[in-house]
Subunit: 254 residues, 2 copies
């Protein structure tokens, strides 16, 4: 049977890939992906043939992957982060019925919520919501409704695709909505270029986040009411307590 | 400077660990964790000294880790999944100020939302909320409020800790709440023992999920209004479309 693997490669540095993803990519004859991600890993798999399609050609990329697999080549379609979180796993699965001769295997990776959180400290220690601010495929009204619902539920909120050249003010718009529910001093964080050149992070307030630029390589974290700024190794980091401290308080005796 | 690594080992199978996690654990002299996770990886790191503490002794586990690091041993504290998602990263960071001589590094892993989603298909292709049903450290009212908010926002919902021996009916209670917002035929999924012996998954309706047992090694996925059941490789899988199909519809011409 033909084999198509949909592989999440993690944030971008080779070492963040899972051992399984590495083994599968080493065995694949063809590796397909968006140009930027192919460039990140190409040198590590010198024996594979690499094929790229530009951004927004997702369906064509999947069709290319199926056609390579159906030519009998062991094929991987790579995604940054996790193939199953805003990645290509869904589109590939939606085409599975048309390609019954191809076995599809989804190989998860470390998504930007996890890799960004690790750089910023521990913002996701309690319940959280992941929202993409890209309105290319989702109406802005839906995004806004989800921001409101996540704020009402006091989730930590992790924003993917907070801005792009065409959507320069989307993060500001999101912050204005959240400021209806959350105080200005809510602890927030930005993780930029995680696992890539220029990796950096910043802990700041929601009021400050409102006026802070972001791009498509930034992941944004907006704290819950419990999230704190803590000092660690001489840096300021985010921490959302899970509640161990509370548990250990001795109950008051009458 | 003393070194303490807080390492997410992923769902449980060795290959789901990141290459970085493997390299760090190979270099550590002491590896500390909850007994079950230590047993999963102990044989792969024969040169390390392993120390365990039982469940619910999280603070003691962190103190043990700091004390080992401060004895000059390169030390890792391991967590299943991602160290930063309901893991130990937060508690360690909250103790950082008391241990200024120890450099803390958080090493992310593949969390159960990602590893469970990959087994079930592609349920997390669009915005999602992660909620733990454990009320050991969180009041049930908070959990219930988050379930309601996530349903109102039409998020895909991923439930961690859906049940335990003492909380056998919590998943049922959660389903009853969600049924106030979502139809009975909402597409849901269960992923059990991912990356471990007895791995299995099941796609079912919210009405069926209500009466389905789960345990602490189960991750539950409740679809949004858009989530579909799709056939792939002769199995039924979950898919939450990201909207590529919609985008490609030709606009109606007058």
């Amino acid at each position: 049977m033909n084999q198509l693997f949909v592989v999440g490669i993690g944030p971008g540095d080779y070492e963040s890939m899972s051992i399984r993803a590495e083994r599968i990519l080493k065995n694949c004859q063809v590796i397909i992906g968006y140009t930027v991600y192919v460039e990140l890993i190409q040198k590590f798999f010198p024996e594979a043939e690499f094929l790229t399609t530009p951004m927004r050609k997702e369906k064509e990329r999947c069709e290319l992957a199926f056609s390579q697999a159906e030519a009998g080549k062991m094929t991987a379609l790579i995604c940054s982060g996790d193939a199953g979180v805003y990645g290509m796993a869904g589109l590939v699965l939606s085409m599975a019925e048309m390609h019954p001769q191809t076995k599809i295997t989804i190989v998860p990776g470390i998504t930007a919520a996890s890799s960004g959180a690790a750089v910023l400290g521990a913002p996701l220690m309690h319940d959280f919501a992941v929202i993409s601010l890209s309105d290319l495929l989702t109406p802005w009204e839906t995004i806004e409704a989800r921001l409101r619902a996540a704020a009402e539920g006091d989730f930590v909120i992790c924003l993917y695709n907070p801005a792009s050249k065409k959507r320069a003010d989307y993060l500001e718009r999101a912050c204005r909505i959240l400021l209806n529910y959350k105080p200005e001093d809510t602890v927030c964080g930005l993780a930029r270029n995680v696992g890539r050149e220029g990796e950096s992070c910043q802990v700041l307030s929601l009021g400050e986040l409102l006026n802070t630029p972001a791009d498509m390589f930034t992941t944004v974290f907006i704290g819950s009411s419990q999230t704190k700024a803590v000092a660690a190794n001489g840096e300021i980091r985010m921490e959302t307590p899970r509640g161990y401290e509370k548990k250990r308080k001795t109950p008051e005796t009458p």
